[in-house]
């Protein structure tokens, strides 16, 4: 009987110590730059991301107001037109958390292909 408890106790300790309870998810980082330089018939949108707010084509917005603003300027999702390019420029104080928040917001928007502008590799 005692040996049974011992074994079960060992198993319990193993599972308690080795298991994790955090849940993970993932999102694609669309760091552009490469790709065919197609002559777009529509001019690209320009988004500047800052720690507190962002500006879309020079117009200051909050993160919540971004999706409605993008819907107006995005090309229709079922049209044959190429999705409109969205250039994302990052201020130097922007953290990964902030960038991921933006990417998660953009993920639900159709007709937009975001490209993150980075520093040229040295």
């Amino acid at each position: 009987m005692t040996s049974l408890i011992d074994v079960i106790f060992l198993l319990l300790l193993f599972f308690m110590l080795s298991s994790t309870f955090s849940k993970f998810s993932e999102i694609e980082l669309t760091a552009g730059g490469s790709g065919p330089g197609r002559a777009a018939e529509t001019p690209p949108l320009f988004l500047q991301l800052r720690p507190g707010d962002l500006s879309l084509n020079g117009q200051n917005l909050a993160l919540d107001a971004l999706v409605p603003a993008l819907r107006q300027s995005a090309s229709a999702p079922d049209s044959a037109k190429a999705p409109r390019t969205l250039l994302i420029s990052l201020a130097s104080e922007v953290t990964s958390q902030r960038l991921t928040d933006l990417l998660a917001t953009l993920r639900g928007t159709e007709g937009i292909s975001p490209i993150i502008l980075g520093r040229a590799p040295r």
């Binding site: 009987m1 993970f24 993932e26 980082l29 990964s96 980075g118």
Partner: protein
């Protein structure tokens, strides 16, 4: 009349096993076995993305250090070179700290892509809704 001394019972073994067994089953069902990430790492929090299995990928610390499975990695290209051929073509995953400057994260992703990575994914921590 002589009082009969109470027989000292042993500890209730069956009940003990039952409780331990319940805890065992709880931990087996609810936890996921995974290689631990770095303890000092605080992952990016997201809410409404699909879940995925615990990652086994390169960690980018808040100060820009890279590490994989607890060992330091000198350059993003080294991590990519250590991956098998098939994994390189598909999605290459990064686990960034939430305070890492986004410019550095984009720089690392650009280096990975220049070295031949297909898509670069960021692994985040899903908040409990």
């Amino acid at each position: 009349m002589k009082r009969k001394p109470r027989s000292t019972k042993g500890e209730p073994t069956i009940a003990l096993i039952n409780i331990v067994f319940l805890m065992l089953i709880f931990f087996m069902v609810s936890g996921t076995l995974a290689r631990p990430l770095d303890a000092s790492l605080s992952l990016v929090r997201t809410a409404d993305l699909e879940g995925r299995a615990p990652p086994d990928a390169m960690v980018v610390h808040a100060d820009g250090r890279l590490s994989y499975q607890g060992r330091a990695v000198a350059a993003p290209e080294d991590y990519l070179a250590a991956l098998p051929e098939a994994a390189r073509e598909g999605a290459v995953r990064l686990v960034p700290d939430r305070d890492l400057p986004a410019v550095e994260l984009v720089g690392i992703a650009a280096k990975l892509r220049a070295a031949g990575a297909g898509r670069v994914m960021i692994v985040t921590e899903r908040g409990l809704e």
